[in-house]
């Protein structure tokens, strides 16, 4: 495999990706590296948790301290890393099946807890790595290997789900507009609290329906007059999906994060206070006498 060294990306580039030519993942990859660079990250001062899928395969294409998780479980791994060392920025890079199917439960609960992690979801409405079955975001009627007569279920609405479950930053981007996506990722990482960035990325091999052209017809960017702090606005925007697709920061609010609510780590992170306190243990033993 080739190693790409790109000065602009401050050393984030790993092996050259094995994704199909034209895959929407390339745009997300580029946007992530640029966002990390703009945030003055180095490969060793933040943590990335990858899920399993074509998106998760980025583990070998992105140089950073990383944990390649199980399918669906990157979010709880990320939450654990954050609790252990809340001074470390934590990014979870996952797919639509990974985050909205197998691990859907974790998304809801990480949003509720306002865990200060950023979840970047590759949403192509189809399963790529398992060769073309429907994803939870597939449009109703979409025909794929596991649903040859068309999917019966309606698509999951990640934006509405995240907002209603307590996420404090919810954005949507398109891998065909890297510059715009870079801004969303940066804002998501800078946001203190749970941030979700749902990124549309065409799968050129297994989904000919939701192509670059299909998205370009439907997407539009939220204007400066859009008030992302108003939850009713945000929910109305989230329900526009399928006909018009809004891109940008759809909802953003401020709420105390999970780790900020833990008195035991206000001064030091858990990682900075590993030694047991033997005096307290002696007192605890006395409580049983």
């Amino acid at each position: 495999m080739n190693t790409v060294n790109n000065q602009k990306n401050a050393g984030f580039s790993g092996y050259f990706p094995t994704w199909c030519p034209g895959c929407g993942n390339f745009g997300i990859w580029a946007a992530l590296k640029t966002a990390f660079t703009n945030l003055s990250f180095t490969p060793e001062n933040f943590a990335v948790i990858f899920g399993i899928g074509c998106s998760g395969n980025m583990n070998d294409f992105l140089w950073a301290d990383s944990f390649h998780a199980l399918h669906g479980r990157a979010i709880p791994n990320a939450v654990g890393v954050k609790i252990a060392n809340h001074k470390l920025p934590v990014v979870a890079i996952v797919g639509d099946g990974d985050c909205y199917g197998e691990g859907g439960n974790h998304l809801m609960h990480a949003a509720r807890g306002n865990h200060d992690i950023t979840v970047i979801v590759h949403d192509n409405r189809v399963y790529g790595l398992t060769t073309g079955q429907v994803a939870p975001t597939a449009l109703k009627g979409f025909k794929a290997k596991s649903t040859p007569s068309g999917i019966i279920e309606v698509p999951l609405n990640p934006i509405a789900l995240a907002i209603t479950q307590g996420a404090t930053f919810v954005a949507q981007g398109f891998s065909g507009d890297i510059n715009h996506l870079v801004g969303l990722i940066e804002k998501g990482i800078k946001h203190k609290g749970f941030s979700l960035v749902n990124v549309f990325q065409p799968c050129v091999t297994f989904n000919s329906e939701n192509s670059y052209a299909w998205y370009r017809e439907k997407i539009y960017k939220l204007g400066e007059d859009y008030d992302s702090s108003d939850i009713n606005n945000a929910l109305a925007k989230s329900m526009e999906a399928e006909t018009k697709i809004p891109l940008g920061v759809i909802y953003e609010t401020d709420r105390s994060t999970y780790t900020d609510s833990l008195p035991q780590i206000t001064q030091k992170s858990l990682l900075e206070s590993l030694a047991p306190n033997l005096e307290i243990i002696a007192k605890l033993m006395d409580e049983f006498v």
Binding site: E44, D65, H68, G80, A84, H106, Q264, P276, M285
Partner: protein, 578 residues
């Protein structure tokens, strides 16, 4: 020798367990050895709760079948337990509220002690929830225990609820005490007066011991989803978390539980999860993840009868082979099974060192019997235990600065690779759930795969040569019969041994896996006659021993009705073989 068993029974929700706890603490503070065994159904109100408290002036290792004093807080208790009373024993019951036809069936040579709970409550305008205090006061009198200790305990117990509640509880117990003094001044024929010199003992459950062990080991993240019998461990650590600097997370499900713990552990913090069979079933994919990413994790596996929901609040040792084989794929794991309170503490400390040293999952096999029952334990045996934290090959920044080309999965002689954590300099790495090269990158190459499998498997050999412990012998080395058992069944066997001194010995396993094949085979081959004792239906340790050594154990005492094995049942089986 004093040896008194008190059984207190009543409807769930009426403080039966609190009554048992206070009685056990009174005896402990009075200088006695105490063993408690609670039974309760999986519901909150209306079911039958019962607790046995065995009190002795010498060490007691388990409950026994026969009861000295049965305290019935309802009629049901009498119906269910009247035949367990010893000859010369005592039954305390509210005659006014008990059907005469049941009272008539009480065996002869048992003293019936009527205690009009209902009338006392009514006459003194006390609420129904004070019923157990009346019983406790009566019991303290009958056993000649120190009422002052009870008063102190009530004050401690209700300190948060204010003086009014405290004094009402003390008053209620005083009524019970005075009633007995007035009507049955002789009391029970065995007494437990406060000893002049009382050894400082903790009255504690296995869950709390594991919790103390985790705190002392520097565990800073405990994650769990409530499940009997490990919920009390969650409650204990949650209550102490802020004080000891531990984050305790009740996560959305057991899959999240173990994955959060693995995230925290990868980030460098000692982490533990606790559950039971059903919850552990949800965790097993991540056990495999811990295996391949080589992430330390301690799992407390509190067994209870399955399959599926089974009998949630009862006890069994039915998950040993499940844990042994948990997680898809081949990777090393270490299984420990404490036999008593002391071992619960010490093996928890050990579990964290082993997890860090071998960078692989370590299991603490408990069960309802070990984790939920109280026992008195010499405080000094715990507090004086010398122990140091060993984080294995976890690198410091200083060490990393001297390394060029750090490789997370470096091939080493012992199978263990130097470990770095995210955020350190000069240690760029990934922990990869895919098969990987030494540097952590994904591979599907045949050679690279094989060397990593061999590397991980090598940890088992390293463990066997440096940390494995042989099963421990208890009792007379020359005995004709050897009982073979593991985990919590140690207590009932040691109790049976008191009566059959010299007749049999015990070979007890608390280090369950990996097992040293050659040495174990030698030990087993040297035994004259053997009896396998397990709290399950298939003799799982026996199967494991046979798998490793090829030696089968013919005689078996297996119990799987949700109850622990009683020493009397062991003696009966031993007698058949002698």
């Amino acid at each position: 020798m004093t040896d008194v068993t008190v059984k207190i029974g009543g409807e769930a929700g009426f403080g039966i367990m609190t009554t048992g706890l206070l009685m056990g603490k009174i005896a402990t503070r009075s200088g006695y050895h105490v063993f408690e065994y609670p039974e309760y159904p999986s519901l909150i109100r209306g079911g039958h709760n019962v607790v046995d408290i065995r009190i002795s002036d010498e060490k007691v290792y388990s409950q026994k079948q026969k009861v000295d004093v049965l305290v019935c807080l309802n009629e049901e208790t009498l119906k269910l337990h009247k035949d367990e009373i010893k000859i010369g024993g005592m039954i305390v019951i509210d005659n006014d509220k008990t059907d005469k036809s049941i009272i008539e069936k009480i065996p002869q040579n048992v003293t019936l002690v009527p205690l009009p709970f209902g009338q006392i409550l009514k006459d003194n305008a006390l609420p129904n929830v004070m019923l157990n205090n009346i019983a406790l006061g009566a019991l303290v009198y009958l056993l000649g225990a120190d009422f002052e200790i009870l008063k102190t305990l009530i004050s401690e117990n209700f300190a948060r609820k204010g003086e009014d509640i405290t004094s009402k509880n003390i008053t209620a117990s005083q009524y019970g005490y005075d009633y007995m003094k007035d009507k049955y001044s002789a009391g029970y024929n065995k007494k437990i007066p406060k000893m002049e010199k009382a050894e400082s003992r903790m009255y504690i459950t296995g869950n709390e011991m594991i919790g103390l062990g985790a705190i002392a080991a520097g565990c800073k993240f405990y994650c769990a989803y409530p499940m009997t019998p490990s919920s009390v461990l969650l409650h204990y650590l949650a209550a102490k978390g802020e004080k000891v600097g531990m984050v305790v997370k009740h996560a959305e499900d057991e899959i999240a539980v173990i994955n959060m713990a693995l995230g925290a552990s990868w980030a460098g913090v000692r982490s533990m999860v606790g559950t039971s069979g059903g919850g552990f079933a949800l965790m097993v994919e991540a056990v495999s993840l811990a295996g391949i990413t080589e992430t330390p994790i301690v799992v407390v596996m509190g067994q209870r009868p399955g399959p599926a929901t089974g009998m949630p609040t009862w006890t069994e040792q039915g998950d040993l082979l499940f844990v042994l084989h948990s997680g898809h794929g081949e990777f090393p794991k270490i299984i420990l099974a404490p036999g008593d309170m002391e071992e619960s503490y010490k093996l928890t400390l050990e579990a964290f060192n082993l997890a860090d040293k071998y960078q692989t999952p370590v299991f603490i096999m408990g069960d309802k019997y070990l984790q939920e029952g109280h026992e008195s334990v010499d405080r000094s045996s715990i507090s004086s235990y010398q122990f140091s934290i060993d984080r294995g090959k976890l690198l410091t920044q200083e060490q990393l600065d001297k390394i060029t080309d750090y490789k997370r999965y470096l091939i080493t002689d012992d199978g263990i690779s130097p470990r770095a954590i995210p955020g350190m300099r000069n240690s760029l790495h990934q922990a990869n759930s895919y098969e990987h090269r030494e540097d952590g990158h994904t591979t599907e190459e045949a050679f690279e795969r094989k060397v990593q499998v061999d590397k991980r498997n090598k940890k088992t050999a390293t463990f066997l040569s440096s940390d494995a412990k042989l099963p421990k012998f208890y009792g007379d080395a020359d005995a004709q019969l050897t009982l073979i058992s593991w985990g919590s069944m140690k207590g009932p066997i040691l109790e049976a041994m008191k009566e059959k001194e010299g007749k049999f010995n015990l070979l007890h396993f608390s280090y369950i896996w990996p097992l040293p094949k050659v040495k174990l085979t030698e030990i087993l081959a040297s035994l004259k006659n053997t009896l396998l004792v397990e709290n399950n239906s298939t003799g799982q340790l026996g199967q494991l021993i046979s798998m490793v050594t090829g030696i089968g154990i013919k005689n078996k005492l297996l119990k799987y009705d949700g109850r622990p094995i009683y020493p009397e049942e062991i003696i009966k089986e031993v007698d058949k073989l002698l």
